[in-house]
């Protein structure tokens, strides 16, 4: 029971359920899809993007919120930072403690490097922890890395960088083996055969999982392994990297760090710097809710950009069509694609099946936005939305299916009194993944010497659309590659004598010359929420306006 006006709205869906269940909506034609995407996909809304006025991608488009951060004032005044006061000296500096950062740290330490891993929250506070679905790898006899390549490259609208897609799929089986050897508990048959399933856009069943905690199981294992290597990997948590430091040759040579609790500034000097800071869901592009973790604020993109690193596909985001839109406690949380695979249909406020539920993610996200914008959405006090008619699942597959197949979904809603076996749920697209990022090559090098990037912060692996199960794979494959590469590099590099923030000063000059205004500072580090408390709309909370 919704216990409010939504019960009346849900009645319309219930009345037409029998009829809707029988009705199969036709798949859209290629032209219809293009039209829908063009008019409603958030990436196609021109006024939500702006031209970058400065930096390596000058002249290109970026989401307004990202452009603001990329071109914002630095958090520090370079003149006030004493670069001779070195707090940490290390071979490899890893920025970020998610799947990519820990994989990089482990592999660099394996090569004998002394590693400093800094993370603004805790190790493991990352999108990796939240990945439910699984991880792709072509390890079954009917599958091959080539087949995986075709799926990933095609699924990414043929925009991926071939050398990156090649590395992703070719290293996938060895990465699964590496994780398994570290103790990750993959779902297996009694004879050891991996249980693998389909994901959106896969042509072979190659989705490996650890129940519905795939990312959490991988992340906690990598975290444990990172801590086990304490003699080589020093972890500094609650510390954000707010600027890359360069040397006299313009190579990356460390970072300015900020303790997020005390505000204290620390200087880290390193031979190789790896950025593994993850995604940007908490930037809430275009006001969208997000499925991402608290720290997903694109910090790595900002500090890399100021250091001169080029971005790729910074204007391509993934919106998952079915984020929870009601109640407010779970706004933006993911309603897994499996709900639609099991037969639940998308329905508008008039009780009408307006689209096939298994169109691709971008098409279905656009469809929901269209219904809401054209007045066929379900109005409510959290987020206007469409229905996902979950009771259909048990009409098709029999009673008990929901508890057996999607228990996490049942649990998520029943906490708030909504029984998804009996009531439909409200969904709206949620900001899910940053397809682009800092451009890298197959060993994670950027165009800035000694600066590597891995994981969601990088761009080019997934083209302009990522497939389910390829992001967990990405963070481990390229996290490892970055660590391995840094493990080779550090032996040939001497610690820099001269450290410099000249590039930050230059950036500020460029900023002034381009007449960029505004007081925003970056990187963002953490989002701020007040959940509608009017006091915080005032300049001084508690003061009268």
């Amino acid at each position: 029971m919704y216990g409010n006006y939504l019960d009346d709205a849900a009645k319309i869906v219930a009345e037409k359920r029998e009829e809707n269940l029988k009705f199969e909506h036709a798949r859209l034609t290629a032209e219809q899809k293009d039209d829908l995407l063009l008019k409603f996909h958030p990436d196609r809304i021109k006024k939500q993007f702006t031209e970058l006025k400065i930096g390596p991608n000058k002249g290109q488009q970026a989401p307004i919120e990202l452009a603001e951060m990329l071109q914002a004032k630095p958090r520090l005044e370079p003149e006030k930072i004493d670069l001779n006061h070195i707090d940490y000296e290390t071979d490899v500096l890893v920025i970020g403690g998610g799947g990519a950062g820990t994989s990089a740290a482990i592999m660099a330490s394996e090569a004998g490097a002394k590693v400093l891993l800094v993370t603004k929250l805790r190790v493991g506070d990352a999108n990796t922890m939240m990945a439910e679905g699984g991880i792709q790898a072509a390890d079954k006899p009917n599958d091959s890395p080539a087949q995986h390549y075709l799926d990933a490259f095609g699924g990414g609208h043929f925009d991926g960088k071939p050398e990156l897609v090649y590395t992703l799929v070719n290293k996938a089986p060895s990465v699964i083996k590496w994780l398994n050897d570290l103790g990750v508990e993959f779902d297996k048959m009694p004879d050891g055969t991996m249980v693998t399933t389909h994901g959106g856009g896969t042509s072979r069943k190659r989705m490996h999982a650890c129940k519905d905690y795939s990312g959490a199981e991988i992340m906690r294992t990598l975290r444990d392994e990172t801590f086990n290597r304490a003699d080589q990997i020093t972890v500094v948590d609650f510390t954000a990297a707010i600027e890359i430091i360069k040397n006299e040759k313009g190579e990356a040579a460390g970072a300015v760090l900020m303790n997020i609790e005390t505000g204290e500034i620390r200087i880290a000097k390193a031979k190789v710097v790896i950025i593994a800071t993850g995604g940007a869901g908490r930037m809430h592009y275009q006001g969208f809710p997000t499925s991402n973790h608290y720290g997903a604020t694109a910090d790595g993109l900002v500090i890399a950009y100021r250091a001169g690193a080029k971005l790729l596909y910074q204007d391509s985001l993934q919106y998952h069509p079915t984020g929870a839109a009601y109640p407010t406690q779970i706004l933006g949380k993911l309603v897994t694609e499996k709900v639609r695979s099991l037969g639940a249909k998308l329905i508008n406020k008039d009780g009408e099946v307006y689209i096939h539920p298994l169109e691709t993610r971008d098409v279905n996200a656009s469809g929901i936005i269209r219904e809401v914008r054209e007045g066929r959405g379900v109005h409510n006090d959290v987020q206007d939305a469409v229905w996902l008619d979950t009771p259909m699942i048990e009409m098709i597959h029999g009673e008990g299916t929901i508890l057996k197949s999607i228990p996490a979904m049942y649990n998520m809603f029943i906490k708030y009194g909504i029984d998804i076996r009996k009531e439909p749920i409200l969904v709206y697209p949620t900001l899910h993944y940053q397809n682009g990022g800092v451009e890298i090559d197959k060993t994670c090098h950027t165009n800035v010497a000694n600066l590597l990037v891995a994981g969601e912060a990088s761009g080019g692996v997934h083209g302009t659309n990522r497939l389910m199960g390829n992001s967990l794979l990405d963070v481990v494959v390229f996290g490892r590659e970055a660590g391995i590469e840094a493990g080779k590099m550090f032996k040939k590099i001497k610690l820099s004598k001269e450290l410099s923030l000249q590039h930050v000063k230059d950036f500020e000059k460029e900023r002034a010359a381009a007449k960029i205004k505004g007081n925003a500072v970056s990187p963002k580090v953490l989002p701020t929420y007040h959940h509608g408390n009017p006091e915080f709309d005032k300049e001084i909370p508690g003061a009268t306006l």
Partner: protein, 230 residues
């Protein structure tokens, strides 16, 4: 429908705030004006950053929860537990063996369990915590791993343990031993890794890589007409 929101009175670290009753504890703290730096991670029930202890005024029982997935209640006294000093022992996963002695060596305090079951009652994930510790004591790592699988390592259990056991770390060790040594090996995985190492997969995939730059139409056609496993 624009009804005024129902409010709840809560006490964050003892200080009174009125917040919308529909909010989670985490969101209520932000509504009150906190900029969270501690005790906030995935905001989605996976990461265990937001362990929280609360008591409803007038009730004896202390309750534990994850602040991101628990709605506030009237007269709720809230203390977050963003860090708990768990013991994490260091080990080399390649050198240890899945034998009972490893637990005795690394986490001997588990044998001091007094059987009070406070850990189980404290678990926001509803795990059979005391039972998985019992399996760990006996060296039954597969069962310990299975029962502890949904652990988010928030530490609520350990905060209530009179024996000072670090349950989440014991379970982590058991799961890694299980995943590495006890679960059966995957022959098809070992075979595929060997094939790739021997270069047997190279020709097909390099063909696609070349096509991706030189003959985009061809690879588009191959993609659009590829057969899909049923």
């Amino acid at each position: 429908m624009a009804e005024t929101k129902e409010m709840a009175t809560i006490y964050i670290f003892g200080k009174k705030y009125d917040v919308p009753a529909e909010l989670t504890i985490m969101n209520a703290m932000e509504y009150a004006g906190y900029q969270l730096k501690r005790g906030c991670g995935c905001r989605n029930g996976f990461c265990g950053a937001c362990a929280t202890i609360y008591r409803i005024k007038g009730q004896n029982q202390l309750q534990t929860c994850l602040a991101c997935s628990k709605k506030v209640e009237n007269d709720m006294y809230i203390a977050t537990l963003p860090f708990f000093p768990l013991v994490k022992q260091l080990y080399d996963i390649n050198k240890i063996k899945p034998e009972q002695s490893i637990m005795m060596q690394l986490y001997p305090e588990i044998y001091s369990c007094v059987g009070c079951n406070a850990c189980t009652r404290a678990c926001p994930q509803s795990l059979q915590t005391m039972q998985y510790i019992a399996y760990a004591q006996r060296g039954d790592f597969a069962k310990c791993a299975d029962l502890s699988f949904d652990c988010v390592m928030c530490g609520c259990c350990s905060s209530r343990c009179p024996a000072g056991i670090s349950h989440p770390q014991v379970a982590e060790l058991a799961r890694r031993l299980n995943g590495k040594y006890i679960q059966p090996q995957s022959q098809h995985l070992i075979d595929r890794v060997a094939e790739i190492d021997e270069g047997k997969c190279e020709k097909d995939i390099k063909n696609f890589v070349n096509m991706s730059t030189k003959n985009l139409d061809k690879i588009k056609e191959l993609y659009n007409t590829r057969d899909i496993e049923k």
